[in-house]
């Protein structure tokens, strides 16, 4: 413990910590402890100012229009949408079906193909486990990628334990999968291919249409986790030949705790349900549909459809502004992920010779993250960045900037200026940066020789 603190205060750079990491292989417990040490949780005092929100990939604030649509169903219209014998049930059911249509319209689907769930994690679980288990007697193989969300990867681990074969496709250094490799990986007993539309950490947009084409021609079901894409880029499940698609409410300015799964009817995709019970949602997802949340998701989808172009051009403009400011002031900054095939609102930057956590701590009045919120408690470098072949050091110095509907120019300028100032400060403190300025190749140094 003592040695660590000393190293940290003297070096304040990731490579030093990386050297420490190689010396002592730590358990998860001590890693968690160290995390606690670096970024302490602290509540904002009453008279303090709130940090700016720049983490729109983790979650989005609810749009006031969404809340406005939901509130009547939190107050007066509280009926169970599955009650068939009274007006309370009927009005809730009508609201739920309207919401279903709003979700379906956004992605070019039929309302009967939409199943309400608790979120994209549940949708992903249902798709992977559901399809795999339903077709298990004939098909034992599933293909996914190395940069999927944790819930897809973890579902695959469970399936592996059940005897399925899973192929985790690598991605190229730009974060995109190789279509030829995908084609070669498909076997006669492949039941499902699951590739996310937009990555939550680096924002790259996979060639979903081409993947859909390949899967359809090989009669393999295609699932895509579109939590970060729906409502932000135009999606049409028919054009893209998508068989299953996961949607999340709270990534599109809707309420938390609700999502949807698109399940194609023709050609029909069959799932083994995970949750058993009253047989709601065509038996695929038993349990009462939470009317207010479903209404909120529906409203969020309708607004997203109306505002897509407006939001997209604004988010692009702000992203460009942020990148331009940072890149013009700071050398040795790497943009992770493909520069073109991406959603502009997710910018993942690696600041060489600066430790991500130190930078996050220095930027405490901006709410940022070094990657996925689900894994932000661990000090391990992001597996997504590792999959695109980012150097260990650079992977540790990455920060994700999330821009959304409610971001303003002032917030972008503030973030950029603060970021530039802090990176410069941290680099000045870093002996590594000094050595690089003197022309020493860091790769030639043996860190662990004592």
């Amino acid at each position: 413990m003592f040695g660590k603190t000393v190293i940290r205060s003297i070096w304040g750079s990731r490579s030093a910590a990386a050297c420490y990491r190689r010396k002592y292989t730590e358990s998860a417990v001590s890693a968690a402890h160290r995390q606690k040490e670096i970024i302490k949780s602290r509540y904002i005092e009453k008279d303090e100012l709130r940090p700016l929100y720049m983490d729109f990939q983790a979650t989005t604030p609810m749009d006031p229009r969404v809340l406005d649509a939901m509130l009547p169903y939190q107050v007066n219209y509280y009926g169970n949408p599955h009650s068939r014998t009274h007006a309370y049930g009927w009005e809730s059911e009508r609201a739920m079906e309207k919401a279903r249509k709003q979700v379906a319209d956004l992605i070019g689907a039929d309302p009967r193909e939409i199943v309400f769930t608790s979120g994209a994690t549940e949708s992903n679980n249902m798709s992977l486990k559901g399809v795999a288990r339903f077709y298990r007697s004939k098909k034992k193989h599933i293909i996914t990628t190395q940069i999927e969300h944790k819930c897809v990867l973890d579902s695959c681990r469970i399936l592996e334990a059940e005897g399925f074969n899973i192929t985790y496709l690598p991605v190229q250094s730009n974060g995109l999968i190789d279509l030829k490799q995908l084609e070669e990986t498909i076997q006669p007993d492949t039941s499902l291919v699951s590739v996310m539309t937009v990555n939550n950490e680096i924002g790259v947009k996979q060639p979903v249409k081409e993947i859909g084409e390949i899967c359809r021609s090989r009669s393999v079901f295609f699932h895509t986790d579109a939590a970060q894409a729906v409502g932000k880029i135009p999606i049409n499940v028919t054009d893209w030949k998508i068989d299953l698609m996961s949607i999340s409410g709270h990534k599109i300015y809707g309420p938390k705790g609700v999502g949807a799964l698109y399940v194609r009817r023709r050609p029909r995709v069959r799932l083994e349900p995970i949750q058993s019970g009253g047989g709601q949602e065509r038996g695929l997802r038993s349990g009462t549909v939470p009317t207010p949340l479903a209404v909120g998701l529906g409203a969020a989808c309708e607004i997203a459809q109306q505002e897509m172009q407006y939001d997209h051009s604004r988010v692009s403009m702000l992203a460009k502004r942020l990148l331009q400011k940072i890149m013009s002031e700071l050398p040795d900054v790497v943009v992770n992920g493909d520069p073109d095939q991406r959603y502009p609102g997710c910018i993942n930057l690696s600041f060489a010779y600066v430790e991500g956590e130190s930078l996050l701590m220095a930027l405490k009045d901006v709410a940022l993250s070094s990657g996925s919120a689900c894994t932000s408690a661990s000090l391990e470098p992001s597996y997504v960045l590792r999959a695109i072949g980012t150097d260990e050091d650079l992977a540790h110095s990455s920060i994700r900037f999330g821009i959304g509907r409610f971001t303003t120019e002032e917030e972008v300028d503030y973030t950029a200026e603060k970021c530039i100032r802090q990176v410069k400060r941290l680099r000045e403190m870093s002996p590594l940066w000094e050595m690089v300025q003197e022309g020493i190749d860091l790769k030639s140094i043996k860190w662990t020789q004592h």
């Binding site: 700016l52 006031p64 809340l67 002032e410």
Partner: protein, 92 residues
């Protein structure tokens, strides 16, 4: 566009801006102001009375939403954000 409807549009625009300024949340306030301005600018050359009517109805609905949401916002207001003093000057 007839004179009467023109003044009607203008006054509705002013009410929308006035109400939007009441949002206690910095992000909602700046968004509402920006969105109202951009929507009116985008449709400033609409002449067709039917389209105009649809747009005006939508604006009235938005006004009602803004008024309700401002009231809710005031009930549960939170601390100001770090850019707010700057932002308020520019937004208003």
């Amino acid at each position: 566009m007839a004179i009467s409807s023109k003044s009607q549009v203008l006054s509705l625009y002013k009410i929308l801006l006035k109400e939007s300024k009441q949002f206690p949340s910095y992000n909602y306030r700046t968004y509402a102001l920006r969105r109202v301005r951009d929507a009116f600018r985008e449709n400033k050359n609409v002449d067709d009375p039917k389209t105009l009517e649809i747009l005006l109805n939508r604006a009235w609905d938005s006004l009602a939403v803004i008024q309700r949401q401002v009231a809710i916002g005031k009930l549960y207001s939170a601390q100001k954000t770090v850019v707010e003093t700057e932002g308020m000057k520019k937004a208003s």
